[in-house]
C-alpha cells in the first residue's frame, strides 16, 4: 500500500469497495488516519446508505463533518441524503403539478411523486450528487470514501457514466430535431 501511495503523489480521492462485511469501513478509516498523519487535511466520507463510521469511530458524524483524531487533520462524515432527496422531490412535485395543470388533469400529484422517488436509484443519485458536491467544494487535501457493498457502489460510481450517456443521447436527439 505504501508503494502505491508513493507512486501516486497526485492521488486525491480513494474509494474502498467490495463485498459486504469484508472490512471496507475499517480499511477506509485506516487509510484516512494515515493520510492525516502525513499532514494532509483528510475527509473520510461514507456513501453507504447504511452508514457505519459513527459506530467505528465511536463518535456521531452523521450529516456533519467532525474531527476524529488528535491531529485535527482527520475529519469523518456520513453523507445525509435526506435534504437532497426532499429538494428533488419538491422539483419533481412542481414539474408534475405543472404538467397536470397543463393537461387539465385533476389527479393528485403525490401518487406520481411517490412512485417516481421510491426506487433505490433515487437514493443513489442523491448520494452521488452529495459526493460530487463534496469533491467540488475542495475543502480537503485528501478524500477517502467508504462505499456501499459492491452492487450499490458500482451503481453509484457508474452513475457518472450513466449520466454522460444520458446527456449524450439527449444532445443527439436534439441535434436530430434541429436538422
Amino acid at each position: 500500500m505504501e508503494k502505491f501511495h508513493e507512486g501516486s503523489p497526485r492521488l486525491k480521492y480513494i474509494f474502498f469497495g467490495g463485498k459486504g462485511g469484508v472490512g471496507k469501513t475499517v480499511m477506509a478509516a485506516a487509510a484516512a488516519l494515515w493520510s492525516a498523519k502525513q499532514g494532509k487535511k483528510t475527509l473520510l466520507a461514507s456513501t453507504n446508505p447504511v452508514h457505519s463510521l459513527s459506530n467505528l469511530l465511536e463518535k456521531d458524524v452523521f450529516g456533519k463533518a467532525a474531527v476524529v483524531c488528535d491531529e485535527d487533520k482527520c475529519y469523518a462524515f456520513e453523507i445525509d441524503t435526506r435534504d437532497t432527496i426532499e429538494r428533488s422531490k419538491q422539483e419533481i412535485r412542481e414539474k408534475i403539478n405543472w404538467f397536470l395543470n397543463f393537461a387539465d388533469i385533476t389527479t393528485k400529484a403525490e401518487d406520481f411523486i411517490e412512485s417516481a422517488t421510491m426506487n433505490p436509484a433515487f437514493e443513489e443519485s442523491a448520494m452521488f450528487e452529495n459526493m460530487v458536491d463534496l469533491m467540488f467544494k475542495d475543502e480537503y487535501d485528501f478524500y477517502v470514501f467508504d462505499t456501499a457493498p459492491t452492487a450499490n457502489a458500482r451503481r453509484l460510481l457508474g452513475m457518472s457514466k450513466v449520466y454522460s450517456l444520458w446527456v449524450e443521447k439527449m444532445l443527439k436527439s436534439r441535434r436530430k430535431r434541429n436538422r
Binding site: 500500500m1 505504501e2 502505491f4 467490495g18 488516519l33 483524531c69 458500482r154 457514466k161
Partner: protein, 97 residues
C-alpha cells in the same frame, strides 16, 4: 466465494470504467501459529488460509497492495484504527519513526 465475488465486482467496476488501483487482503491469521500447540479447529483454518493465500496470489498477483492481519479484538475506536493503519502502511510509518 469471496475471491469469486471480488472478481465479479472487478468486472462490474470495469464495465463502468471505474479504475481499480488494487486489492487489500484483510483478516489474515498469523501462519506462524501453525507451529504451536493449537486446537484442531484453528489448525484447519490456517491450512485453509494458506491455500487461499496462494489462490489470491495467483489471481491478483501484483495488484495486491497490502495484507493486514486479523486483530486480537474488533477494530473500533482510534487506537485500533491506528494499529490497522500501521499494518497497512508499515514501511512508511516505521521509516519515519
Amino acid at each position: 466465494m469471496i475471491i469469486k465475488d471480488t472478481l465479479k465486482a472487478a468486472e462490474l467496476f470495469a464495465k463502468f470504467d471505474v479504475p481499480l488501483s488494487g486489492y487489500i487482503i484483510n483478516r489474515v491469521l498469523p501462519l506462524g501459529l501453525k507451529d504451536q500447540n493449537i486446537p484442531e479447529y484453528l489448525r484447519n483454518r490456517l491450512i485453509m488460509e494458506e491455500h487461499y493465500l496462494k489462490v489470491i496470489d495467483t489471481t491478483f498477483g501484483k495488484q495486491i497492495l497490502a495484507a493486514v492481519p486479523e486483530m486480537e479484538r474488533d477494530v473500533t475506536g482510534l487506537p485500533m484504527i491506528e494499529k490497522m493503519a500501521r499494518a497497512m502502511f508499515w514501511r512508511v510509518l516505521s521509516s519515519k519513526q
